[in-house]
């Protein structure tokens, strides 16, 4: 597999899994308005995953659906941050915000890529991610505004921080640290990143569930 497909799959897998995780709030978010918001975000993420898989599929001579569903659980390249099962609300917001912050850094590099297809798709994705970032920031502001919200949010960020570092390559991690520390107005602990490629137990469970319908008919069946 080329570096290009490898890169496309890594980002597509991130978006696919986060889309799945965000849609776990469907029907049960703290407010109906948030239910609708997280559902929109989930749909965008899945749409981004599909566009990225389509690009990779051309090179790998397959289809977006086959890349999304028909690989073995061990072959997914997503960061462990997005593998974690539905987190309680403060952690959900922390993951949302940390991911969007990391994704913005990653997309800025891709938008400047010499590969016009990658640069094009990154710009397109970034236009939607801008709204996700606004949504995440609104919640960060809300949570930081009260004692209880602040305590819960800070704990959540500390817990997920090693996972957030794992979304990006070594070279981009200092920028993520700088942005997060600036927004929070405090230093974050030194942490060993939880690297891409590591598979949480939740990944296998999610894979079993997300492929169960599809696996119930022979390969190539229409759904």
């Amino acid at each position: 597999m080329s570096d290009r497909s490898d890169l496309l799959l890594a980002i597509a897998d991130d978006e696919l899994f986060l889309g799945w995780r965000n849609s776990e709030w469907t029907g049960i978010a703290p407010f109906l308005e948030e239910d609708v918001a997280f559902s929109s975000i989930a749909q965008n993420e899945i749409g981004h995953a599909r566009a990225l898989y389509e690009l990779a599929a051309r090179e790998l001579d397959t289809t977006a659906d086959e890349l999304a569903f028909d690989r073995d659980a061990d072959e997914y390249r997503c960061a462990p941050l997005v593998q974690l099962r539905r987190l309680e609300w403060a952690r959900t917001i922390a993951r949302h915000w940390l991911y969007e912050t990391a994704d913005e850094i990653r997309l800025a590099i891709l938008k400047a890529s010499d590969d016009s297809e990658i640069a094009g798709i990154a710009s397109k994705i970034d236009r939607e991610e801008a709204y996700h970032r606004m949504h995440a920031e609104m919640w960060v502001e809300r949570l930081l505004a009260t004692g209880e919200g602040r305590a819960r949010f800070n704990d959540a960020v500390d817990e997920l921080w090693p996972y957030a570092l794992g979304v990006l390559d070594d070279a981009l991690r200092p920028e993520l640290r700088e942005r997060v520390e600036e927004r929070l107005g405090r230093k974050l602990p030194d942490a060993e990143p939880v690297p891409r490629g590591r598979h949480e137990t939740e990944l296998r469970q999610l894979w079993e569930e997300m492929t169960m319908v599809r696996r119930s008919a022979p390969t190539g069946a229409r759904w």
Partner: protein
């Protein structure tokens, strides 16, 4: 009945519509709240049978469509609770009554979803049954409710297309896929026949008397059967009621009388998935209760 109430009743029975700020009899207001609240609860509880399948949807396109469909249902709940709030019952009071089991929601949402076939049947036929009732609400005597029904009906008609597309893919697929649909239809036929309620004469149905509903239960069921029995049969599926046929003379559908006691039991919380669904909603609500406190404290 006092003169003013009598005049109001005649006004709505003549097709007149009422706005939020208009005078209305207390009985009318409480019937409206009960009816509209149950609709909102049903939209919200209707999310639960389908939400598990977002994760299991077998293609990216199906996953996107299902997520969007369920999002629509939450959006409908949001809109409809707002109508209830304007009538004097805030959303949180409705949600309290819902999780405590004091308020009702539609019979079809008290059943489990067992396979991807159920997902198709719900989106196609449950939503088709719902749209028959909802289209009749476009003429509801309470104008704000009638108005939002336009948007809701428009979105529901997309859900039916999505459901039909899921079903078409399955019935033209492998034998096992076809059987998924047949089994789902077998499971859902009774709840579908229950859906529009028992054959109460419209003059004895207070919701009709006040013209909250503009259609008798049986008329709604007949309209559903007229629209969908031919379509179901056209796909080679068998409807699990040997007595079901259209009487050419009267133009009415004849069918085995559904068990109305069972319907009553289901909607009062004794359906196969009633308690599990309510427990799940109660637990989820408790887990996120702190968020509302934090947000309210921030706003204060």
């Amino acid at each position: 009945m006092d003169t003013r109430t009598q005049e109001f009743l005649e006004y709505v029975q003549d097709g007149g519509q009422v706005e939020t700020g208009d005078w209305m009899p207390d009985e009318y207001r409480s019937k409206l709240v009960k009816f509209i609240e149950m609709h909102a609860n049903s939209e919200l509880m209707g999310v639960l049978p389908e939400r598990d399948w977002i994760l299991r949807a077998p293609t990216l396109q199906r996953k996107l469509a299902l997520t969007a469909k369920i999002q629509d249902e939450v959006g409908h709940a949001q809109l409809i609770y707002r109508v209830v709030a304007d009538l004097g019952k805030p959303r949180n009071a409705c949600l309290d009554d819902l999780v405590s089991g004091r308020a009702k929601f539609h019979n079809v949402f008290h059943y489990p979803t067992k396979t991807w076939g159920d997902v198709g049947v719900i989106a196609w036929l449950v939503d088709a049954a719902a749209i028959v009732s909802q289209k009749a609400l476009l003429k509801c005597s309470y104008a704000p409710y009638a108005r939002i029904m336009k948007k809701i009906c428009w979105e529901e008609s997309f859900h039916i297309l999505h459901g039909r597309d899921v079903i078409l893919a399955l019935v033209t697929g492998t034998q096992e896929q076809f059987e998924l649909v047949q089994e789902a239809l077998d499971r859902w036929w009774e709840p579908l026949m229950h859906f529009h309620g028992n054959q109460i004469p419209p003059d004895e149905d207070p919701m009709f008397v006040w013209r909250i509903k503009s259609q008798a239960n049986e008329d709604a069921r007949q309209q559903f059967l007229d629209g969908y029995v031919p379509q179901i049969r056209e796909l080679g599926l068998e409807i699990p009621d040997s007595a079901l046929r259209k009487d050419e003379e009267s133009g009415r559908w004849l069918y085995t009388e559904p068990d109305w006691e069972k319907l009553r039991a289901v909607v009062t919380g004794h359906g196969p998935a009633s308690q599990e669904r309510l427990d799940f909603r109660r637990l989820s609500r408790e887990q996120v209760a702190w968020v509302e406190q934090v947000v309210l404290a921030e706003a204060a």
